[in-house]
């Protein structure tokens, strides 16, 4: 599935949930299901400090595709992190760089990506793109 398609899939899944409680229940579930980092992996280098919550992000290259691992101390944030990983994991740098993330908006979680929300998510997405840029440069060398 393309990035586009995965996003659409998520939109459809959330589209069935009309109540905010159901949406957030699902987010919490996704957050709980995502493998977190163990303490040792929660390094300052991986840390993206939001003012309200923390996000940790780790990325590496595998056969020309980027693998992401991420975590957050807040479960709702972690749920969104899980969705972001589902969308962007195992993609080539170009795929990531050309993608446009629309699903967060569409499933009604836009507020969490407001720059003033300071939960770390905006910076995390920025960081994911930076990784893509960096690995692209590396591969082209």
């Amino acid at each position: 599935m393309t990035i586009q398609e995965v996003q659409q899939e998520i939109v459809d899944e959330f589209g069935m949930l009309t109540d905010w409680m159901d949406k957030y229940s699902l987010l919490i579930e996704l957050g709980n299901d995502l493998d977190g980092f163990d303490e040792a992996q929660r390094t300052d280098q991986n840390l993206i400090e939001g003012c309200q919550s923390k996000v940790w992000l780790h990325a590496w290259l595998n056969n020309g595709q980027i693998q992401f691992m991420a975590d957050s101390d807040a479960i709702i944030v972690k749920g969104i992190v899980a969705l972001l990983i589902r969308v962007l994991n195992n993609r080539t740098p170009d795929e990531i760089l050309q993608s446009e993330l629309f699903f967060v908006d569409k499933i009604g979680l836009k507020e969490h990506l407001s720059p003033t929300r300071s939960n770390g998510l905006v910076s995390m997405i920025k960081q994911m793109r930076l990784f893509a840029l960096a690995y692209k440069a590396k591969m082209e060398k």
Binding site: W20, M21, Y24, S25, I28, C51, Q52, S53, K54, D73, A74, I75, I76, V77, N119
Partner: protein
């Protein structure tokens, strides 16, 4: 209790807001309070009837505006029990008031190696100005530790005092723990050593009777927007004897007597510390807020808020599996807590979906968060317009949050 809660709530149109389709329950009063109609109307009256730059004008509007501004100063002065209204300086808020003292007291009286004592429960606004001074002048910063119960370690405080201590700057009420600090005792001890004391009153004036004359503090700082007044206006009370000696903070119109390129002499108090066109509209709005509170009756308000606090504390305690920060019985009108195992951001986000506004996070008191090894707390802070049924909504909301976490 004979408390006109209905009438009061009618004075605050914002309280009828819907948030996510639910009636707004606003428990973020520690961050900022709402403004009653009376405050907005007072400011509208300035704009529509006598707005004009104050002081030094010979025309009628200018005189009316000047008079209203100086009356506002008088109102604030008697509200906090200041000896003289010229000891009341209008600033932008508590933060600026503290920065003013850090700069002007610092420049005038502090030398490298001199010591300033603050506490471990201070808001960043009462930490960073001293760190800037530390950097610039080599002043030493000492910190009174916070005990597990959320009170200051007064034993250590005594031991921190040295011959180099020049100033103690502590908060009256902690914005995180709600702790009401024993500032009378702190002031007395400091004065025994001829040390000046600045009190951060940002979280105090709205919940406690404050009398700077009785307290005998040297400086007292407060914010209008936390006192049901406008944003952008605050107060620094300072004893004349200090203010007269201190170098000015900012330079500009109105704070001077005469200006030549060779020599400039400064105006008398309070103008010496009010450079530039002051926010006279804000000051008049703040006075309207003070009068609004006085009209209801400060004691009544405080008693009502105490009841609310006790009610909330009992209900929250009954929830179980909850950790409180700060001890219960010596607190201002706010409660900091965590639902065990649930991140405050998650709780705040979900409460918001139910129309309930609380503050979550570090509350601009990161060192205190470090002290308790937590990422933040959930803070419910009460105002004069809150009700027990709103507390019930909060408690039910927290129950729902728990359910969502399964």
């Amino acid at each position: 209790m004979n408390y006109p809660i209905e009438a009061i709530r009618n004075d605050f149109p914002i309280l009828t807001q819907q948030v996510h389709g639910k009636p707004l329950v606003y428990f973020d009063n520690g961050a900022t309070t709402h403004k009653p109609r009376q405050v907005v109307e007072a400011m509208e009256e300035v704009a529509f009837r006598y707005n004009s730059n104050i002081h030094r004008g010979v025309h009628t509007l200018s005189n009316l505006c000047t008079e209203a501004f100086e009356n506002a100063r008088q109102t604030v002065a008697s509200f906090i029990g200041a000896h003289n209204s010229h000891e009341v300086i209008f600033t932008r808020g508590t933060t600026e008031s503290i920065n003013l003292v850090a700069y002007s007291f610092g420049e005038t009286f502090l030398q490298s190696g001199d010591e300033v004592i603050i506490s471990g429960m201070e808001h960043h606004s009462n930490i960073v100005p001293w760190q800037l001074l530390q950097k610039r002048k080599g002043v030493v910063l000492k910190v009174i530790p916070v005990l597990d119960n959320g009170q200051l370690d007064m034993e250590v405080f005594r031991s921190l005092i040295s011959r180099r201590t020049r100033l103690v700057s502590v908060t009256h009420v902690s914005n995180v723990l709600g702790t009401i600090n024993p500032i009378e005792e702190i002031i007395e001890i400091a004065h025994q050593h001829n040390i000046a004391v600045l009190i951060d009153g940002a979280q105090a004036v709205q919940h406690l009777a404050v009398d700077v004359k009785k307290l005998d503090c040297d400086f007292y700082a407060l914010s209008g927007h936390k006192l049901y007044g406008p944003t952008g206006i605050g107060v620094l009370y300072g004893k004349e004897k200090w203010l007269n000696q201190m170098v000015p903070y900012q330079g500009g119109g109105e704070m001077i007597q005469t200006v030549t390129f060779e020599e400039t002499t400064f105006n008398e108090l309070p103008y010496k510390f009010e450079a530039g066109t002051p926010d006279f509209t804000g000051a008049i709005g703040l006075a309207a807020a003070v009068k609004y509170l006085q009209n209801i009756g400060l004691q009544k308000i405080h008693a009502y808020e105490d009841e609310l606090f006790n009610y909330a504390f009992e209900k929250l305690q009954a929830l179980g599996n909850i950790t409180f920060y700060g001890t219960a019985h010596i607190r201002g009108s706010l409660i900091s807590f965590l639902l065990n195992g649930i991140h405050p951001f998650d709780a705040g986000t979900l409460l918001d979906k139910m129309g309930i506004a609380v503050r979550t996070g570090h509350h601009c008191a990161q060192p205190l968060m470090e002290r308790f090894k937590i990422p933040g707390t959930i803070r419910a802070s009460f105002g004069l317009y809150n009700t027990t049924s709103e507390v019930d909504a909060l408690v039910n909301g927290l129950v729902k949050v728990r359910q969502l976490f399964g």
